[in-house]
C-alpha cells in the first residue's frame, strides 16, 4: 500500500512510502497500529495525532481498507 505523510510525519518517515500491509489489516485503526509498530519514532502521531485521508477525503478509524491502495496521514495543520 502507498502511504503519504505530511508535515512532521513526512520529515520523520519520508513523504511517500510503500508498505506491505500484513493480512488481517482491515481498517484504518489496524493500519495505524501496524505503522506505529513499524515506526516507533512517530507512534504517537500515527496512533492518534493525525487524520487519515483516502481520495482527498478524511476517513474515520473504522473505515475499511478492502479497496484502498493509497492512504495519507495528515498531522494537525499549521495554517498559513
Amino acid at each position: 500500500m502507498k502511504i503519504r505523510f505530511y508535515g512532521r510525519l513526512g520529515d520523520r518517515l519520508g513523504s511517500e512510502i510503500e508498505v506491505a500491509v500484513p493480512p488481517g489489516t482491515d481498517t484504518v485503526v489496524e493500519l495505524r497500529e501496524v505503522l506505529a509498530e513499524m515506526f516507533p519514532q512517530a507512534s504517537g502521531e500515527l496512533r492518534q495525532r493525525s487524520r487519515a485521508c483516502v481520495a482527498d477525503g478524511f476517513v474515520a478509524d473504522d473505515y475499511r481498507l478492502a479497496s484502498v491502495d493509497s492512504i495519507e496521514f495528515l498531522p494537525p495543520l499549521s495554517g498559513g
Binding site: Y6, G7, R8, D56, E72, L77, S78, G79, G80
Partner: protein, 153 residues
C-alpha cells in the same frame, strides 16, 4: 464575484499581484489588501533562516479556494484574490497576499481580515521554522484560534 487563488512555489511580487487585481475591477469604491511577510524571528526571539511550508497536492489549493469564496460571499465582495507561498520561504519574503474589492470600504476591510483569520487556522499547510539551532514544526497559536473563533458568532 470574481475569485482567484494561486499557490506559489517561488517568491512572488505582491505589488504585481495587486496591479493584476486592480486592472480587472470595474468601478468598485474600495480595495483592501494584506501582505504577510515571513518573520525573521520566532516568538522566543530566535533567528529564523527560512520557513518551509509543506502542502497537499490538491487539498491545499481547495482550502485556499474555499476560504476565498467564503470571504467573498460573506461580505458581498465583487472580487477577491489570495496568493499563498508553499515550499521554502526566506525570512523577509511575502508569504501571503489577500486583496478584496467591494462597493464600500467596510466590507473590503472585514473580508480581508476574515480571510486572513481563516487562512491562519484552516488553510492546509504544515509550517516548519528552520533556524541555526534546528527545525521546529509549528501549529496555530491560541491567539490564532481565538481570532478564527470570533467570526463564528
Amino acid at each position: 464575484m470574481r475569485c482567484t487563488i494561486r499557490l506559489a512555489a517561488e517568491p512572488f511580487d505582491a505589488a504585481a499581484d495587486y496591479r493584476a487585481f486592480e486592472e480587472k475591477l470595474a468601478g468598485e469604491g474600495a480595495i483592501v489588501t494584506f501582505t504577510g511577510m515571513a518573520r525573521p524571528r520566532t516568538h522566543d526571539g530566535e533567528q529564523i533562516n527560512s520557513l518551509f511550508l509543506d502542502h497537499h497536492p490538491r487539498m491545499t489549493e481547495a482550502s485556499l479556494r474555499e476560504i476565498a469564496e467564503d470571504s467573498g460571499d460573506r461580505f458581498d465582495l465583487s472580487a477577491i484574490t489570495v496568493v499563498h507561498r508553499c515550499g521554502e520561504v526566506a525570512a523577509g519574503d511575502p508569504i501571503v497576499f489577500v486583496a478584496a474589492a467591494a462597493i464600500h470600504r467596510r466590507a473590503a476591510f472585514e473580508a480581508c481580515e476574515y480571510a486572513m483569520d481563516r487562512l491562519k487556522t484552516d488553510a492546509v499547510f504544515w509550517k516548519r521554522e528552520d533556524s541555526v539551532d534546528g527545525s521546529c514544526w509549528i501549529e496555530p497559536t491560541l491567539i490564532d484560534e481565538a481570532d478564527r473563533a470570533r467570526w463564528s458568532k
